[in-house]
Amino acid sequence: MQKIEAIIQPSKLDAVKDALLEVGIEGMTILEARGHGRQKGHTEFYRGREYTVDLLPKIKLELVLPDDMVEKAIQVIASSARTGKIGDGKIFLSKVEDAIRIRNDERGETVL
C-alpha cells in the first residue's frame, strides 16, 4: 500500500481526475494549497507599487493505492498534468502501514 501525493497546477485538476477514472482509480482526496518550488512567484503592480506573490495556488492530490497500481497512477498523473513549463508540480511516494474503514473497522488493502 502506498500513498501518492501529487502537487499539480489547478488548471490540470479535471484532466488528471478524468485520466485516473479512466484507468479505474476512483478514490482520491483533493486539497487547495499554496506554494512554490523553483517557479518562485510573480510580481503584481498596484498603482506603481510592486508586490511579489511568491506563494501560488496549487492543488494537492492524495491517493492511497495497492502497490501494483502505483506505477500506472504515477504515469497517468504525470502525463495528464504536464504542460512542459516550470511550475507543473511534483509527485511524492510513501509507504502506508495500514488502512481502516471507519464504517465497519475493516482493515488492510480491501479498504482501498
Binding site: 503584481e44 503592480f45 498596484y46 498603482r47 506603481g48 507599487r49 508586490y51 511579489t52
Partner: protein
C-alpha cells in the same frame, strides 16, 4: 317712424361704446386672471421638473459615498480592515447629517461675512419649501439644503483614504466632525455662499467652481496629505506587502462613483435645463478620457494596463472636471481628462514614493492634485458660450476664461486654490493636534496588526463560518 329709428340708432350708437368698454374691462380682468394662472402653471411645471432632477441628483451624490466610495476604498485595503474602512465613509453619512441639520448648513449658506455664514438658519430655521432666489429660484430651499448636504458628507469621507488602516474610529469621528465645521463650512460659504469671498457672482475674487473642485476635492485632498504625514506610516510601510485585498470591490465602487458623479456635476446646474446637459456630457467625457490616458501611460511604463489603473484614471478625470463641468465645451473636457490621467498617474506612482509619505489610498494624489489641476484649467477653458456667468452692470455678458480672452480668470482660480490649500493645511494641522492631545489619533500597534475590523468594531468582514 324714421325719427324713431334715428333716435334708437342714436341711443344705441351712444350707449355702445359704454357697453363695449364694460365688456372689454371684464374681458381684460378675465385675461389677466388667465395669464396669471398660466404663469403659475408654467412656474409649477418648471419647479416640478427641476425639483425632480435635483432630488434624483441628491440621491446620486449620496450613492457616491455609500456604496461608491466605501467600496472603492475598502477594496484597496487589506482584508482585516475592510469593514473599518467602509464604516469611516458610512459614519460620515450619519454624523455630517446631524451637523448639517443643526449648525453647518447655516455656517455654509446663511448670510454672514465674506468668510463664513451666520447662525440664523441653525436647526434649519427658515429653510422651508419656498425657493430662495439667492441659491436656486425654482426649487424648494429644502431641496437645495439636502442636495448640498450630500456634498458635505462625501468631502470628509474622501479624506479617510489617507489614514486608512491605522486611525482610531472614535478619533476619526471627532476629527472629521471638527473638520466639517471649521474647514468645509467656511470653504463652501466662500465659494457658494451669498457674499462669499470667492463667489463667482459678486465675490472679491470671483472663482469658478461649478461643482466643488476647490470646495470638495482640493480641501479634502490637501487635508488628506497633511493627515497622512501627521499620523505617520502604517507599521512596516513600505516594506510590508499591502496590496488591495479586492480590486473587484474597488471596481464596483469606482463605477458607482462614475454614475453618482452625474448627480454631483449635472445636479450643480440646480435645475433640469440645458446647463445640466452640458455638465453631464463634460463629466462623462472627462472620465472616459482620463481612464484611457492613465491606462496608456501605465501600459507604456509597466507593460500592462491594470483594472485598478483604469478606474483610478476615471476617478481622477471626474475630480478634475468637477469645477469645470458647467463652464467648458465638451472637447475641453476631453483635454482636461487626458491631462489629469497622466498627471495623477505620476503623482501616485512616482511622486508619492519619492517623498515616502503613506497616503494609503491616494486621496491626495487623486483628489488634491486632480482638483487643483481641474480648478486651474477651468480658468483656462471656461467660456461664456456655455455659461454666461460674468455680467457687467448693464447685464451684458463678459468673457469667462482665457479661451474667451479673460486671462485674469486663471489668477482668480489660483487664488481660490491657494485659499483652499491654506485653510486645509493650517486648519487640519490645528485640529489634528487638538484631537491628538485629547484622545490620541492612532490605534495601538497591536490593534493595527490585528486590523481595524476586530479592534475597532469587534467583527470581521469575511467570516464564512461553516
Amino acid at each position: 317712424m324714421r325719427s324713431w329709428c334715428k333716435k334708437i340708432f342714436l341711443a344705441v350708437f351712444l350707449l355702445l361704446p359704454c357697453g363695449l368698454t364694460c365688456a372689454a374691462q371684464s374681458a381684460l380682468t378675465a385675461d389677466a386672471d388667465r395669464i396669471a394662472k398660466l404663469e403659475k402653471a408654467v412656474q409649477d411645471a418648471q419647479t416640478a421638473g427641476d425639483n425632480g432632477w435635483m432630488l434624483v441628483s441628491a440621491a446620486l451624490v449620496l450613492l457616491m459615498t455609500g456604496p461608491g466610495l466605501a467600496l472603492f476604498y475598502s477594496g484597496l485595503v487589506r482584508k482585516k480592515n475592510v469593514l473599518g474602512t467602509m464604516m469611516q465613509s458610512f459614519a460620515m453619512m450619519a454624523i455630517i447629517t446631524m451637523l448639517w441639520a443643526t449648525v453647518t448648513y447655516s455656517l455654509a449658506f446663511s448670510t454672514g461675512n465674506a468668510f463664513i455664514g451666520g447662525l440664523q438658519n441653525m436647526f434649519l430655521r427658515g429653510v422651508g419649501l419656498t425657493p430662495d432666489p439667492n441659491y436656486a429660484a425654482t426649487i424648494p430651499l429644502q431641496t437645495y439644503m439636502i442636495y448640498q448636504l450630500m456634498f458635505a458628507i462625501i468631502t470628509p469621507a474622501l479624506i479617510t483614504g489617507a489614514f486608512a488602516e491605522r486611525m482610531k474610529f472614535s478619533s476619526m469621528a471627532v476629527f472629521l466632525t471638527l473638520w466639517s465645521i471649521f474647514i468645509y463650512s467656511p470653504m463652501a460659504h466662500m465659494v457658494w455662499g451669498v457674499g462669499g469671498l470667492l463667489n463667482a457672482a459678486g465675490g472679491r475674487f470671483p472663482c469658478l467652481d461649478f461643482a466643488g473642485g476647490t470646495v470638495v476635492h482640493v480641501t479634502s485632498g490637501v487635508s488628506a496629505l497633511v493627515t497622512a504625514i501627521y499620523l505617520g506610516k502604517r507599521i512596516g510601510y513600505p516594506k510590508i506587502q499591502t496590496p488591495p485585498h479586492s480590486v473587484v470591490l474597488s471596481f464596483i465602487g469606482a463605477c458607482l462613483l462614475w454614475v453618482g458623479w452625474f448627480g454631483f456635476n449635472a445636479g450643480s446646474a440646480l435645475g433640469a435645463g440645458p446647463l445640466a446637459t452640458s455638465a453631464f456630457v463634460n463629466t462623462h467625457f472627462a472620465a472616459a478620457a482620463a481612464a484611457l490616458s492613465w491606462s496608456i501611460v501605465e501600459k507604456i511604463r509597466n507593460g500592462k494596463s491594470s483594472a485598478l489603473g483604469a478606474i483610478s484614471g476615471a476617478v481622477a478625470g471626474l475630480v478634475a472636471i468637477t469645477p469645470a463641468s458647467g463652464f467648458v465645451q465638451p472637447m475641453s473636457a476631453i483635454f482636461i481628462g487626458l491631462a489629469v490621467g497622466v498627471v495623477c498617474f505620476f503623482m501616485v506612482v512616482k511622486v508619492k514614493s519619492f517623498f515616502g509619505y503613506d497616503d494609503s489610498l491616494d486621496a491626495f494624489g487623486v483628489h488634491g492634485v486632480g482638483g487643483t489641476l481641474g480648478a486651474i484649467l477651468t480658468g483656462f477653458f471656461a467660456t461664456s458660450a456655455i455659461n454666461p456667468i460674468f455680467k457687467d452692470a448693464k447685464g451684458n455678458t463678459l468673457a469667462s476664461g482665457a479661451v474667451d480672452g479673460n486671462w485674469a480668470q486663471i489668477g482668480n482660480q489660483a487664488i481660490g486654490v491657494a485659499i483652499a490649500w491654506g485653510i486645509s493645511i493650517v486648519g487640519t494641522l490645528v485640529l489634528l493636534f487638538l484631537v491628538d492631545k485629547l484622545m490620541g489619533l492612532r490605534v495601538s500597534p497591536e490593534d493595527e496588526q490585528e486590523g481595524l475590523d476586530l479592534s475597532q468594531h469587534g467583527e470581521e468582514g469575511y467570516d464564512y463560518g461553516e
